[in-house]
């Protein structure tokens, strides 16, 4: 019995798909609709994926981040300056050449800036204490020199220099009434620092009249030191902190932005998807009407209605899956790897396998939703009437 059902289904599906060229116009409605929706959806998702990628870029397994308890990431955290010394005595922290534990205080700050298109925007500045360069080893000066602690000097990323007006080497940037001179341009490894500037944390804190870092940044002996380090710091009654791996911290920092971007992507994709469902519906209704005689003949010969339903749905999917791949391919070709500046950061657009899988899932859903009613119509086709009408 199962083999009968399979043979009927395979035969009906094969004839349905092979007859698609005879219904090219109607089928193209489905193909173009789904391709467009998936190209837009995957392009939009590449924003969120890009932000997520940015958060994970450069995160090292031997890096830990200490944030205040209750904060979700270093962006919302506040760590009093004197906790740096307490935290430095914890086990598993790597020592620098002078035998000092590598624990850097970091202050994250946003300052107003104008883009080269004269639009108002914000630029992130990371103030780092003396051990900072041991943590952020990926920053490489490509022009000028490093900032000097105690002086109002900045190093700016190559990305930020390109994005912001009057932010070149030697230019002055005003922060809370004080002029800071850009003395060097650096590149990082594609992470947050590639769209920001760096400065001495203590000098920045005095200008901002702050007494707390945003977070502490620790280089561990090895990734295996993390559990002991976490246990020690989180159980210390004098500290109210949480310890995360750099990867977790960055993921939390980008999660909110990614969530908003994904929400917008799915919202727009969903609206367009409804249109695509209607397109698939019209196209598959047309297919069923065109194949009315064919379906009625097969039903007369003895084919049952189940395989008829499956064949209509399969035709929809046969159109939808290649359309999804085509849409994702278009998005990949047009946008993958392009760097955009938005939400105060620069990040690459990334088309991932997950986005492509999502688009295929959406396309199949659109085909199933669009095909369901035509499939039911095909299955309920009154055979005698349909044969007479042809």
């Amino acid at each position: 019995m199962a083999s009968h059902f399979f043979r009927q289904t395979a035969s009906l599906t094969s004839t349905a798909i092979r007859s698609v060229p005879q219904r090219l116009g109607a089928s193209l409605v489905t193909v173009i609709g789904i391709t467009t929706v998936m190209a837009v959806l995957v392009s939009m998702l590449s924003l969120g994926q890009g932000v997520g990628y940015l958060g994970q870029t450069g995160a090292r397994a031997d890096h830990a981040v200490v944030i205040s308890r209750g904060a979700t990431s270093s962006l919302q955290s506040s760590i009093p300056r004197d906790w740096l010394g307490i935290a430095s005595s914890a086990p598993g922290i790597k020592k620098d050449a002078r035998g000092q534990p590598i624990v850097a205080g970091g202050l994250i700050f946003q300052t107003d800036a104008k883009t080269i298109k004269n639009q108002r925007a914000s630029m992130g500045i990371l103030g780092m204490s003396s051990s900072g360069l041991e943590f952020w080893t990926e920053t490489k000066i490509i022009e000028g020199r490093r900032f000097q602690p105690g002086l109002h000097e900045l190093n700016i990323s190559a990305g930020a220099r390109t994005r912001f007006k009057d932010h070149g080497l030697g230019d002055r940037v005003r922060i809370r009434g004080t002029d800071w001179t850009i003395v060097g341009v650096y590149t990082a490894n594609g992470g947050f620092l590639d769209s920001a500037a760096i400065a001495d944390a203590d000098t920045l804190m005095s200008v901002l009249q702050r007494t707390a870092y945003s977070a502490l940044y620790i280089v561990m002996d090895s990734p295996s030191s993390f559990p002991a380090l976490k246990r020690t710091l989180e159980s210390d009654a004098t500290l109210q902190v949480e310890v995360k791996t750099e990867s977790d911290n960055n993921a939390q920092a980008t999660k909110a932005i990614q969530t908003v971007l994904d929400y917008v992507s799915y919202f727009i994709g969903g609206i367009m998807g409804i249109g695509a469902v209607c397109g698939a519906l019209a196209s598959l209704y047309a297919a069923v009407d065109t194949r009315r005689r064919e379906i009625a003949t097969l039903r007369a010969i003895g084919f049952s209605s189940g395989p008829v339903v499956i064949s209509v749905l399969a035709e929809g999917m046969a159109l939808a899956i290649p359309s999804a791949l085509l849409g994702a391919g278009i998005a990949w070709f047009l946008f993958n790897g392009h760097v955009v500046a938005a939400l105060q950061i620069s990040f690459p657009l990334v088309v991932t396998a997950a986005s492509v899988t999502t688009s295929i899932f959406w396309a199949i859903s659109i085909a199933l939703l669009g095909g369901l009613l035509p499939a039911i119509r095909a299955a309920r086709l009154p055979v005698a009437t349909a044969l007479r009408a042809t």
Binding site: S3, H4, R7, Q8, S11, T15, R18, S19, Q22, R293, E294, A296, T297, L298, R299, A300, I301, G302, F303, S304, S305, V383, A384, L387, R388, T390
Partner: protein, 231 residues
């Protein structure tokens, strides 16, 4: 000979808008195995409706329909589909072949509902095409065949699963006179040499001449015709 088709007081109604229209009024019919029966009558008389009831494509609103020993009026849609697959071969006016399939693949379609192996299906298809004289056109698609050849393929499809009954709805209605004659002679061969019971709806009295008996349907009632040729 035993009756292969037996109708007792069969009534069929269709719904048109809000009205129920009775198209067959208390039909009684007996058709013996091995007969070649022609059903004639004007358009709208109910002859195709009667043929659909015989072929299990439709169910009566009242009365008993017994075909090949099965009470069709008691079967569900799914059961009727299975019954049709085993017992009936259909031949339509416009051939109703699947345009994307070759002649041999079209003929194979009813065998997909059987337990036959691929090689056995191939043998049966070849035999059916041989009977209708189209072995050399097996690989051709319907669009590459003439109307007469397409109808021969449809006949091969109708007989390939060796049904007891062939149900033909205006099988020569779309053919020229000469080709129609060839098709009717082929049906006669199937009837006489292969012992197929054939029930054929036709407008054409010359087509009905090939049948062993003719009946007239007029305004939903069956009237007997003369017995024609002796089998």
């Amino acid at each position: 000979m035993a009756s292969i088709v037996s109708f007792k007081n069969v009534v069929k109604r269709y719904t048109r808008g809000k009205q129920k229209v009775e198209v067959l009024h208390g039909i009684d019919l007996e058709c013996e195995a091995g007969e070649f029966l022609a059903l004639m009558g004007p358009s709208g008389s109910g002859k195709t409706t009667l043929l659909n009831l015989i072929g299990g494509l439709d169910k009566p609103d009242q009365g008993e329909v017994n075909v090949s020993g099965q009470r069709l009026d008691r079967l569900s849609g799914g059961q009727l589909a299975k019954w049709r697959a085993r017992h009936v071969g259909f031949i339509f006016q416009f051939y109703n072949l699947l345009p994307v399939l070759s002649a041999e693949r079209n003929v194979e379609v009813p065998l997909l509902l059987t337990n036959l192996s691929r090689s056995q299906r191939k043998k049966n298809v070849a035999a059916a095409l041989e009977v209708v004289g189209l072995s050399d056109r097996a690989k051709h698609k319907p669009a590459e065949l003439s109307g007469g050849q397409q109808q021969r393929v449809a006949i091969a499809r109708a007989i390939v699963a060796d049904p007891t009954l062939l149900v033909c709805d205006e099988p020569t209605g779309d053919l020229d006179r000469e080709t129609a004659e060839e098709i009717l002679e082929l049906l006669q061969i199937l009837n006489k040499q292969h012992n197929k019971t054939i029930i054929m709806v036709t407008h054409d009295s010359r087509a009905a001449d090939h049948a062993s008996r003719r009946l007239y349907v007029d305004k939903g009632r069956l009237t007997t015709g003369d017995a024609l040729h002796a089998a």
